[in-house]
């Protein structure tokens, strides 16, 4: 056996062990997550929510909507936010140097008037050009500022916020009517909670009625269908599991609620990354742990945010590349947390897991495929082991996806028709037959582009939010081309 052959054999064995350990861990998280979802589903009853509203036990919220060139969807999104079922909230739209008609649409739709305004400039941001108020909607404030990126826009919104909780929400998202109420419930129940993340579900294919998703239908393209399974797995199993273990590292940038004083304490969002959502959560954990302050950052499966996911493969790959670059930037920035007992389960378990499996996973996967090709070329590939291992990896992924589809089936608002259920089932099978591998390849390349393209958002076409249904693509995503 020559050296190359020995190295290849050694790598293959390592890769199989890596896969087996990852599968075991992920199954464990998934089980913990499923259990958490089941308990959570019983925790908050309709009576409880009604009590909260009727008896004035809630915390006011400032919803912050950063927007960049969103003329197609901004009015529909703002309309959906201002009609949320919540007793006291304001909506702050921050146009981050939009060059299209975003501001004009807002001015026209909500009768905005400019007014000089004083506010606490606690977080440094790019200059705010003007602040406008609506003559029709008392809770709507629109700020126009120079371009500085999504994180900068959110920081400007936090400066303008009047209420103790801030909820950054993407402008291409819709929220369930009770989303804010369900999320803020966590702050009322436990005053050590400093941030709450909700579930994000794909909007594609849904019928939109009065600014809310109505009936759910499977979108036309497989790329969109596959993401429905992916999102269900990531939120209902992954994040629910991490949260249950007290080691949640990510709250989706699409929708999360934070205690304003906590965000101000750590200096707001970091503007030098495309993964500003994860970075903020890591920094909150870190700074609070360092200061010895009791804190909890939790995921709650109930508040649901609907987002339009990329409808074509190219856009999806760009998005995943950005996510992966963001992941590495953040892991590197907070490398002192790795294996550090000072940060408890986070330092000893969550951060090492993210380094080893989320960060390096695509690298191991792609190198694994390369080693297989080399082994095949050298004629040393054991075909039986190859096919068995491939089948095992695919089957394991399918089991987890099916579990996620099962959790989705338990939601009252689910894909209800028999054909949609069958497509969902098929999508969970198809996902691991090429799609997953393509995404892994994109993430593999992204690993090596982290330093060079740290702030590059990329351009992702979106269809925009329309009153009937969402599908197709013609719209430019916010905060692209940075």
């Amino acid at each position: 056996m020559n050296v190359l052959e020995a190295v290849l054999r050694f790598f293959e064995v390592c890769a199989i062990v890596y896969f087996a350990v990852l599968s075991l861990l992920y199954s464990g998280f998934a089980f913990i997550g499923l259990r958490a979802v089941i308990l959570e589903s019983r925790q908050t009853s309709d009576t409880e929510l009604r009590d909260l509203l009727e008896r004035d036990v809630f915390k006011p919220v400032s919803i912050i909507v950063p927007a960049f060139n969103e003329e197609g969807s901004i009015v529909a999104a703002v309309r959906s936010f201002i009609t949320l079922h919540y007793p006291k909230f304001e909506v702050i739209v921050v146009s981050d140097g939009s060059t299209d008609g975003t501001m004009d649409r807002l001015i026209e739709a909500f009768a905005l008037v400019e007014e000089p305004r004083v506010w606490a400039r606690t977080l440094p941001t790019q200059p705010v050009i003007r602040v406008m108020r609506s003559l029709r909607e008392p809770g709507l404030v629109v700020a126009e500022k120079e371009n500085g990126g999504k994180a900068d826009a959110v920081n400007a919104g936090i400066n303008l916020a009047r209420y103790p909780l801030v909820a950054p929400v993407d402008s291409d998202c819709l929220l369930d009517a009770q989303a804010i109420l369900r999320a803020t419930r966590n702050f009322v129940k436990d005053d050590t909670v400093i941030a709450v993340g909700g579930t994000v579900r794909p909007l594609n294919g849904a019928t939109i009625v009065d600014g809310r998703p109505g009936e759910l239908h499977m979108p036309r393209r497989w790329v969109e269908r596959l993401q429905i399974v992916e999102y269900a797995r990531a939120f209902f199993l992954g994040r629910a599991g991490w949260s249950r273990m007290g080691a949640l590292l990510i709250i989706s940038g699409a929708f999360g609620i934070f205690r304003r004083d906590a965000v101000l304490k750590v200096g707001g969002l970091w503007t030098q990354t495309v993964g500003e959502d994860m970075e903020l959560v890591m920094r909150l954990h870190k700074e609070f742990a360092r200061a010895g302050l009791p804190h909890r950052i939790v995921f709650s499966p109930d508040p649901i945010c609907w987002t339009e996911v990329p409808a074509d493969l190219g856009s999806l790959l760009k998005q995943r590349s950005r996510w992966h670059r963001g992941l590495w930037t953040n892991l590197w920035r907070h490398k002192d947390m790795l294996g550090n007992p000072r940060y408890g389960r986070l330092g000893m378990f969550a951060v090492p897991y993210f380094w080893l499996f989320e960060g390096l996973g695509p690298v191991v996967e792609v190198l694994g495929f390369i080693s297989l090709l080399v082994s095949a070329a050298l004629g040393i590939l054991d075909m039986e082991v190859f096919w068995l291992f491939l089948s095992l990896a695919v089957l394991h992924g399918m089991v987890l996806s099916q579990v996620a589809a099962g959790v989705e089936a338990m939601l009252l608002q689910r894909y209800s028709s028999a054909s949609d259920r069958f497509i969902l089932f098929a999508a969970s099978l198809v996902e691991f037959l090429g799609f997953h591998q393509l995404v892994a390849l994109e993430r593999f390349f992204a690993t090596f582009q982290t330093g060079r393209r740290r702030r590059d958002w990329g351009v992702i076409p979106r269809a925009g939010i329309h009153s009937v249904s969402v599908s197709g693509s013609s719209h430019v995503r916010q905060h692209s081309d940075r």
């Binding site: 089941i38 019983r42 606490a120 436990d190 005053d191 095992l392 394991h396 099916q402």
Partner: protein, 402 residues
């Protein structure tokens, strides 16, 4: 939001599925790790992988079958249940109006559910009759039994049902639930007990129930938010509950905060004097809660004036914010002077609170704001006064525009 049935079975099926997968995967990891460290032997890689593939395939079939069956069956099941529940609602309304006789024997779950929904909707004598029906048919007894035993999900469902039923005889069971070691059960029981306590008419029973609930919450060290919610939910029984919480031997700071916040939220003026000592409490959060409470009550006992005035210059920002809001209740000339001074506070939030408080004082406050906008020595105070006046104009315009 969620279907609350079939989920536990699903979790069990998933547990079986991952166990099926975990055994060969663990064996695979162990064997390969041993080989890496130079200990070959045991079964061949091919046979282990084959076992793992077989196990994963079995797991996939198991989970998929359940998911597809669940999706199909649940839709049918829900249709049937909704129809049955609807039929029961109609039947109960007929029974309540006397046009149909009461059913005999044990009620089915849809019958109980329909009755509970009506108990939430109807008031007065009909609501009392529903409570009697629930008790007479053994529904409350069964719910109490389910609330105390079994798996967490089932217990929570029973507690929520008891919370909707609000039957005084179930109060003791619910208070006992507060002592449960599982915090989910403890919190849900506390809320349900508070809702039930609100329906206890007999004063002696109410005080006894309030005492038991307060003791249970203290023993469990329930968090501030929950205690506050319980106080508010107990409605007209809140006075008894607050009295017990505040009189408790060395009450915890979160409990005191919650009780004081409850006084403010429920506007329990009879407790105004009780709040005063807490205006000088050592704990910042308790002090802030006391200031919030007097502010919400809209009444400052004379003995509290000194506390409020000194809190206006407290080191802690949020104390100054609440003190500023409360200062509007001081005698008018004093309030106007102090609030105008606070317009120049170093904190933006205190300045905002001072401006809002001046607005709430009506024409005199607005006149002071106008003067401050022109003449206040502090630039930030002038800006804030101007901003508050602009907001007033905007509100007026909005009112006119409609």
């Amino acid at each position: 939001m969620w279907r609350r049935y079939g989920d536990v079975t699903f979790a069990i099926i998933f547990a079986v599925a991952i166990s099926l997968e975990a055994i060969p995967l663990s064996f695979l990891t162990w064997t390969l790790a041993a080989r890496l460290f130079g200990h070959p032997g045991g079964a061949g890689l091919g046979s282990i992988l084959l076992g793992a593939v077989g196990a994963a395939a079995a797991a996939l079939i198991l989970v998929t079958t359940y998911v597809l069956t669940y999706a199909h069956m649940s839709a049918r099941h829900e249709r049937t249940r909704a129809e049955e529940r609807q039929a029961w609602v109609g039947r109960w309304l007929d029974i309540l109006s006397g046009s149909e006789p009461e059913p005999a024997g044990t009620l089915d779950p849809e019958g109980v559910e329909a009755l509970l929904a009506l108990r939430e909707t109807l008031r007065g004598s009909e609501s009392t009759r529903i409570a009697e029906l629930l008790e007479r048919h053994g529904a409350i007894r069964r719910l109490e039994r389910s609330a105390g035993h079994g798996r967490v999900g089932g217990r929570l469902d029973a507690i929520v049902a008891l919370s909707n039923a609000r039957i005084p005889s179930a109060l003791l069971t619910l208070v006992n639930g507060v002592y449960d070691s599982n915090q989910l059960i403890s919190v849900a029981s506390a809320r349900a007990a508070a809702r039930t306590l609100a329906r206890v008419e007999d004063l002696f029973d109410r005080d006894r129930g309030a005492t038991a609930l307060a003791r249970a919450m203290e023993a469990q060290e329930l968090p501030y938010g929950i205690v506050e919610e319980v106080v508010v939910l107990s409605e007209h029984a809140a006075s008894s509950l607050i009295a017990v919480l505040l009189l408790h031997d060395r009450p915890r700071a979160p409990t005191v905060r919650a009780a004081i916040d409850g006084i403010g939220r429920l506007k329990l003026l009879s407790f105004a004097e009780e709040v005063v000592p807490f205006l000088g409490h050592a704990d910042d959060e308790v002090r802030a809660a006391a200031l919030r409470a007097v502010s919400r009550l809209g009444f400052l006992p004379e003995s509290s004036h000194g506390h409020v005035i000194s809190a206006l210059t407290d080191e802690v920002d949020f104390i100054r914010i609440h003190a500023t809001a409360a200062a509007r209740l001081l005698p008018l000339p004093q309030a106007l002077a102090l609030l105008t001074e606070r317009l120049g506070d170093r904190s933006w939030w205190v300045r905002r609170a001072a401006a809002d408080a001046l607005v709430s004082l009506g024409p005199a406050g607005l006149a002071h704001l106008g003067r401050a906008a022109r003449e206040h020595p502090d630039r930030f105070a002038r800006d804030m006064a101007e901003q508050a006046l602009r907001d007033q104009v905007s509100n007026l315009v909005r009112a006119v525009v409609g």
